[in-house]
């Protein structure tokens, strides 16, 4: 439980901004606008991380989501023709909304129904150094697997986008 007034206020401001911009992603008509709202939402999530004293994750979030993934999204949107840049919905809109509402209801019920084992003080030194030690001691295997995954993804992305019959020379 965090009771510091400033942090609580910050949490609510950031949280409301994040959720609102996420809703705008669903609502706006222009795909580029949607991407820009998504960036705002990503930055908001990074703010939530800071509130929860996970500085390193917050910075990584900004670097990867706001910096890299959103740029990739912009790239993908701009590669498609202007006619496809409408952020329109399929016929599944209503069922999707119902499903989303159900998921939300169930999750909120579970959240309030569960008896969480809350730590009394809950403070720990989550510095970059301690995270690094965690990665290279107990989590070394997942870490290596993740790097293999990244390489595989990179190779896959290049292979998928390669033009057939030439070496990608533009």
């Amino acid at each position: 439980m965090i009771t510091d007034t400033g942090i609580v206020v910050a949490f609510y401001v950031i949280g409301i901004t994040t959720v609102a911009s996420a809703l705008m992603v669903a609502a706006v008509r222009d795909l580029i606008h949607a991407v820009l709202f998504l960036v705002l939402s990503f930055v908001g999530v990074a703010g939530i991380y800071v509130v929860l004293s996970a500085d390193f994750v917050a910075v990584a979030q900004i670097l990867i989501y706001a910096g890299a993934i959103s740029v990739l999204l912009v790239f993908a949107v701009m590669l498609t023709p202007a006619g496809d840049r409408r952020n329109s919905e399929t016929a599944f809109r209503a069922p999707a909304a119902v499903l989303a509402g159900l998921v939300l209801a169930v999750t909120v019920f579970v959240i309030y129904d569960t008896n969480w084992r809350i730590a009394s003080h809950g403070q720990f030194g989550a510095t970059a150094a301690s995270l690094g030690r965690a990665f290279f001691k107990p989590y070394i295997v997942p870490f290596e697997v993740a790097s293999v995954l990244l390489v595989a993804a990179m190779v896959g992305a290049i292979a998928l986008t390669q033009e057939e019959g030439e070496d990608g020379a533009a």
Partner: protein
Amino acid sequence: MPLKSEPVEVNIGPQHPSTHGVFRMVATIDGERITDVRMVVGYLHRSMEKLAEERTYTQNIPFTDRMDYLSAINSNLGYCLAVEKLAGIEVPERATVLRVIFSELQRIASHCMATGAFINDCGAWQTPVMYTFRDREKVLDLIEMTCGARITTNYIRIGGVAFDIPDEFLPALDRLVNDDLPQRFDEYDRLLVGNEIILMRARDVGVVTPELAINASLSGPMLRSAGIAWDLRKADPYCDYDTYAFDIPVGYNGDSYDRMVIRIEEMKQSLRIIRQAVHRLTGGPHKTEVPLALRPPEGEAYARIESPKGELGFYVVSDGGPAPYRWHVRAPSLINLSVLKEMTVGQTIADAIVTLGSIDINVGEVDR
């Protein structure tokens, strides 16, 4: 299967920082690559050729100033040569030498401008243009010293030149030609000719093949860059150019880089010519008196000179009256521009700008 993209038409000009005036180039592009270019000229058309039919031969000289305003003296010279040929006027020895000195000075000024603007089109942030302008200013100072005007000089007249040189001219010319400019040109060599980025930007960009150059009737540095040794000062000498010792620099590849280097080399050759010309300055009159309302005999004449941009020809037809019956200009800028499409299609927009800069057009001359 290539990624499908929509062609986009981009208007480069008439108001664009790098079209050297009001030239318009409608480029159809696919991504950054140009697939088609349409040229639109005429935004600066002032109807000079028609207007000239209502004015006397002497009154027409200022029009030539305003054609290629960066090398006004050369335009004056071409026109006056044509009229002198038509009317059979002899030009005094001193006037011929003065004409050589000033047209070579003007060539340096024009090439300075062309080189600086070209590097500016390559994207250097004003620095080369300021360097070359500094040297152009010094040349223009000399011109101003003699005839009082810097750009639209109206200096060369039918039968000679308008004014004799003042006393302080020769010492100033000596300083400029023997001290200042050689240093400056070495500076250009160091700054521009070996510059890796300029090499990358201008090498193999805007290539003109020799066949294309001849078929399109190109001239000047455009033609010489394609590897064809052709310079009217040697090929069809006027003003006794055949008696001066100078070389014609000729390139190999016909690309934008060659054109830049050729211009720098030509400036050095111009210095050589001026040094020789100064020694030939004899006494005597600086012009033959011709009547203000000159009435050349019926007939036609074509005179051509090697202007900084290329072959500048004037075709003058007289019906015996005080005004030319027809006055036509073979403008090198316009004819050199005509191959822009062949040079740019397949390149990127950035290359097209570099290519356009290397052609060294002057819209005043293109549209007249």
